[in-house]
Structures are given as C-alpha cells and as structure tokens.
C-alpha cells in the first residue's frame, strides 16, 4: 500500500482539528485567561488580577464546603457503584433465559436524561411520596429526604449509584467476556472453589477494566451538577452544593466568570491528582511478569 502524503492526512483530519480548536482548545484557553482576570460577561473593563481568584477560592469557606460535599459524594458512591456494577455484570454474564431482558433493564437508566431521572426521584423522595409510603408501611421512620440537611446528599447519592451502575455493568461485562474460558476450566479441574476462581482469575484479569471504571466514574462524580440543579439547588443549608454547582452560581448568578474559571481549574487539578493516584494504585498491584 502506498503511504499517504502528510498533506492528505492533515486534510482528512482538518474537520476534526477545526472543531477541536473551536470547541475544545479555544474555550480551554479562554477560561484559563479568564481565571487570572476579573472577567464578567456583563461588565466592561476586564482587569488582570494574577492568582487572586485562586487565593480567593482557597480562602472561601463556601468553596471548601462544596469541595467537602463533592468528596463525600465521590467516596460515598464509587465503591457502591463499582461493586453493584460488578455484581450485576457477574449476574447477567452466564447464559440463562431472559438474560437480555435484565441486561437491557439494568442499562436503561444510563440512557435516560439525568434531568428526567432527577425529576422522577424528586417525586419519589417527596415527604408524602412513594419511598416514604413504603417505609411507613414497614413501620420505619420516613424523613423528608431532600429537605432534611442530613439526608439530602445521601438521597442524591443513592439515586446516582442506581442510575450509574448499569453503564459500568456493560463495561465490566465486556471485560468479563475477554477473559479466556480455558482459565476457568483449568481452575475447576484443579479443584478451585468459586471464590478462588473469582479472586484468582476474574479480579486480576479485570484490573484494566476496573481501573477504567474507577477513573471514569471519579471524573464524572467530581463534576456532579444536573442532579443538584434539578433536585435541591444546593440546599438545604448548602449540604448538596457541589463544586460544579458552586462555580455555576458564581458564573451565572453573580456573573463572576473569572472567579468561576479559577474554581474550575482548581477542580481540574483535584481531578487530575485523583486520576493519577488511582492509576498508580491499581497499576502498582499488577502482578510482575
């Protein structure tokens, strides 16, 4: 086959390059510039302020509250989402009648719009809603989930675990399918128990998939916004104000886009750090070859 000239390659890539420059690079550069200015979209006369916005964020207790809420969200959902997704994947992997029904059923929430899901759950969680009706029928106490400062964030987290697991289940399924059957057959011949087969074969060989799920889910969870916007608007008592919701308010209620950009870059730094740590952690446990 004849090697194509660089010009042809560039030419074929150019639509993507133009789109990336316009909708990827330019906003990225613009927000980086905005983060060191007092830029406000509705006020003329933008001034360079250096790192003042970053300093202001680090000194603002509201930012730390938002970061703490986000951290709580990440720590409180990812282990459950991952475990549930893996459990569902293991459950629907073997062939049994109706397998497709369950696979599709578990996956459906991840193709439904978050806004729609949030509106549904807002109704489910209402004081006189179905969730509380069920709890009362069981003789349990029924808090007003989204109004009580103690339960509002956990309620949103529960919804997130439920709605996100289906997507990661599909990824785990793909990972499981890639494990050679022979390994399980050999292990069985050697008399390995189901638990041994899971911990000695399935888990180690799923490690790359697990890493992918962890990193992607962490990045997504750090950016949680739509659920909060629809269900609680950051309340009660700021208990559900996440970093992205906080920066949204700074940008679009206070028109403080420079400051909001700085907050976005701080979140970016946190995300990058966490993703790097996860990769190190999961990779370092890889068996030496």
């Amino acid at each position: 086959m004849r090697a194509q000239s660089p010009a042809t390659s560039w030419g074929l890539l150019s639509p993507w390059i133009v789109a990336f420059a316009l909708f990827g690079l330019y906003p990225f550069a613009f927000s980086l510039w905005a983060s060191v200015t007092d830029y406000s979209p509705i006020r003329a006369g933008t001034q360079f302020v250096g790192l003042a916005n970053y300093g202001r964020a680090l000194a603002d207790p509201a930012f730390w509250t938002a970061l703490a809420n986000t951290a709580f969200f990440v720590v409180g959902t990812i282990p459950f989402t991952t475990a549930l997704a893996l459990g569902l994947a293991l459950a629907v992997q073997p062939a049994f009648p109706g397998r497709t029904f369950f696979r599709v059923g578990f996956f459906v929430p991840s193709v439904v719009s978050v806004v729609v899901l949030s509106l549904i759950f807002k109704g489910l969680y209402a004081g006189q809603g179905p969730v509380n009706a069920a709890l009362r029928a069981l003789g349990l106490s029924a808090p007003d989930w989204l109004l009580d400062p103690e339960t509002a964030l956990p309620a949103i987290m529960a919804m997130d675990v439920w709605s996100a697991s289906g997507y990661y289940m599909i990824i785990f399924l793909a990972g499981l399918e890639a494990i050679p059957r022979e390994l399980y057959e050999a292990a069985r011949l050697e008399g390995a128990s189901a638990w041994d087969r899971f911990t000695r074969i399935t888990l180690p060989l799923l490690r790359p998939t697990l890493l992918f799920v962890l990193v992607v889910n962490t990045v997504r969870s750090l950016q949680i916004f739509a659920e909060v916007f629809v269900m609680t608007r950051g309340g009660p008592l700021h208990r559900t104000t996440t970093v992205v919701y906080y920066l949204y308010e700074q940008a679009f209620y206070r028109f403080d886009l420079g400051y909001a950009s700085a907050v976005a870059y701080l979140l970016f730094a946190v995300t990058l750090g966490l993703a790097w740590a996860q990769m190190r952690l999961v990779r370092s446990e890889e068996p030496t070859r």
Binding site: G127, R233, G234, G235, R254
Partner: protein, 410 residues
C-alpha cells in the same frame, strides 16, 4: 462552455439580489426577548407593528430556567437584544453591571401612571419600565376553615388570628396541615419570611443602603413568629405546598397568583380565598409582602435604543399590559388604577393581588444583593432547621451583610 454557465449563474444571482434589495421596505428591526408564551405576546407585537409601520419586531421567548444565562452570554458576545424583559430579582445585578440604558428622560411622563418604579431605579435615575407586577398573598382553604369551626368568610388579619386558624386546622389531623412553611429552596425563602418582617416594621438595609438593619427587635419578633408557624403546620418546598393546597390538605400558605390560575384547572372544586398577608396586630404594622415584577430594559450596546423605548412604552400602555395580565393570569399590570377595570372587579382573587402590591416592599437595589439574599436565606434556614436561635441567626446575618457592605458592590 463552463465559464458561460458560471457567468449566467452569477448574473442570475446578482439580479435576484438586486430585486430583493429594491423591494424590501426600509424597515428597522427591533430584537425583543421576553418570557411569556409567544401566542400571548404576538397579538401585541402585531398591533405595535401596525401602529409603527417602520418597525419590525423580532421576538424570542426565553425560559426562566435558562433565560438569565442566555442574556448574560448575549451581552458578553455583544449581541444583547434591543429590548429585554427582566425579573425584578435580577435587576440589582444588571444595574450594578452598568449595562442598562438610562431611560429617565424618555419615561418621565409615565411616572404618574405606573407603579413599581423602585424595581428599576437607582436614586432618581430610571433604567427600565415596570411592565407587570407579581407579589405573594395569603391563600386559605374555606372548606378546612369551616371544618375547623372558623368563619370561612373572614380570613385571618393578624399574626395571632393566623396562628390560631392554623392551629385549629392542624388539629383536624389525618393528612391535613395548618400552615405551609416554605423551606428547602433557594431564592424563594426570603420572599416568604420577609413579608412578616417588613410588616412588623423591620428592614434589611438602611434607606441609604449603607448599613444593615437586619438584626432589629422587629425582625427577631417576626422570625420567632415564623418559626412558631412550623408547630401549626409543616415545612415543605413551594411546589409540594401548592400541590397540598390544591388537594385540600393545607389550610393556609403564602403563595402567588400562579395558584389562582391553576386551581380552576387542577382543583375545580376547591373552595378557597386570597387575603392580604396578616399584619402583627390590628393596631400595628402593615400587610407587607414581597414586591416583584417584570421590567423592560434596553442595553447600552443596542443600536436601536429609540425603537426599543418606543416598543417598551407601547407594551406598558394600560390596554396592552392588561391584555397580557388577563392572558397569563400570573401577574397584574403595573398600571395604576388597573384594579378599577371590569376584569379585576370580576376577579376578587386577582384583585387581592393588586391590593397586596400596594403594601408590598421591593428588595434593595444594592449591587451585592445576590450575596445579601443568600446570607439572609442561609441564616433563616439555619433557624428553620433549629441549628441556630432566631437571635443568633439574625446577628450572624447582620455580620454578613455588614461585611458585604464594607466590600462594596462587585
């Protein structure tokens, strides 16, 4: 051959273009962004275009969810509409940004015919035209009043009567609750608490907007009263309270004219009344409420400021504002004397909203109002969730407002 074809094409294009240009009348286009359904506003626009043949209005409908973002983005990009409708709670931010056109001279002759000028004024300068007004009043369920042994033709007029009525209804038990205390939502809470504080003579800032007056005995008394209403009712979000009211499970709550509109559709059998927000005592205080509304403004960057003002002046005309208010029913015209029109004389619930506006209080037009509103709501919410005493909450609100005032507007 090929070049001949091309020449013919270009020629055809050019002549077509020339015909188009020569035929088009020299109409000036005015871009108008607003929040009402197009089918409601379009007849008004058609009427305007007929009266002003030289102007062509390009109207767009915004949503309350994303409208502010869209306006912000447009101003940033230099594409602001010529005329724009703004919610009164957005005005302090817009005024602080210095992007609105000073209309003082162009609207001076309208001053005696409209109310709500506080919403668009900084000192004596006017940066908009009040179009329609919206306030909050007391809604009560007449059936529950009768069941609780109360006179359903006499809504509570004082705090004491309100509390007693709520208590009697709360005692009916079952699914029924007395008073609906609004909670769990931002940007709404102060509209529910401040009516009692304002009615009690309390204030947020001093007249010159230089110092905080939130930590006053009047406001403390009002907050204690508001907190006490939790015992004779329940705390819920506005949409849940409205739903409960429509299903006949809620005795009393403060709500807006959107309920008047939706009740005939959602709960045609509901027997209810609308009354002024109760005042502290029959001898003392006022029936205060939150004064909100919709304001028409133009942006500095607009190139058709004169046409924008012309359209704004047309829209606030008594007949046009009334037509809009009658169609949407959630607001009332800013026109003084609208209450004497046949429509309002035949709609007692809507009429109460106009009466309520006469004693309603607008929020201070301070550049940092967004932060002030948040500070007040934060602290009142802390008290509602029993995290702070009323005295502590207001003392903390005072401290936060004072800090914001010291920083100045940004």
């Amino acid at each position: 051959m090929r070049s001949t074809w091309r020449r013919m094409w270009i020629g055809a294009w050019m002549s077509g273009l020339a015909v188009l240009i020569s035929c088009a009348p020299a109409k000036q286009e005015v871009v108008f962004w607003q929040f009402w359904p197009v089918e409601v506003v379009q007849p008004l626009i058609d009427k305007f275009e007929k009266e002003n043949p030289g102007l062509d209005v390009r109207m767009e409908q915004l949503t309350w969810q994303s409208g502010l973002e869209k306006i912000t983005a447009a101003v940033a990009a230099g594409n602001a509409p010529d005329l724009c409708e703004l919610g009164s709670t957005w005005m302090p931010r817009m005024l602080a940004a210095g992007q609105l056109v000073d209309w003082s001279a162009g609207v001076a002759d309208l001053k005696s015919g409209l109310r709500g000028w506080e919403l668009c004024a900084v000192g004596d300068a006017l940066y908009g035209l009040p179009w329609v007004m919206g306030t909050r009043a007391l809604f009560y369920n007449k059936t529950l009043f009768a069941r609780a042994g109360l006179d359903s033709t006499r809504p509570p007029e004082t705090w004491k009567e309100l509390e007693e009525a709520a208590q009697k209804i709360q005692r009916l038990g079952g699914q029924v609750r007395g008073y609906g205390v609004q909670a769990g939502e931002r940007y709404v809470l102060f509209k529910k608490f401040m009516p009692f504080a304002w009615g009690n003579g309390g204030r947020i800032l001093s007249d010159d907007l230089r110092s905080s007056e939130i930590d006053s005995p009047q406001n403390r008394e009002a907050l204690d009263f508001y907190l006490g209403l939790r015992k004779v009712g329940l705390m819920e979000r506005q949409d849940v309270l409205d739903r409960m009211f429509k299903s006949g499970q809620l005795g009393l709550q403060i709500s807006g004219a959107w309920l008047v509109r939706s009740i005939p559709k959602d709960a045609p059998g509901l027997r209810y009344g609308v009354a002024l927000v109760p005042r502290p005592d029959s001898e003392r205080g006022t029936h205060a409420s939150f004064a909100g509304g919709e304001v028409l403004v133009s942006f500095q960057q607009s190139k058709r400021k004169q046409a924008a003002l012309q359209l704004a002046r047309f829209l606030v005309r008594p007949d046009n504002a009334l037509a809009l208010a009658m169609a949407v029913q959630t607001v009332q015209p800013a026109t003084l004397g609208a209450d004497t029109t046949a429509y309002y004389r035949g709609n007692p619930e809507q009429l109460v909203m106009i009466r309520q506006f006469e004693t309603a209080v607008p929020t201070p037009n301070h550049p940092a109002w967004v932060d002030m509103e948040e500070a007040i709501e934060d602290e009142v919410e802390q008290a509602l969730h029993d995290r702070k005493s009323s005295a502590q909450a207001l003392a903390d609100a005072h401290r936060r407002l004072t800090e914001l005032l010291a920083k100045g507007g940004r």
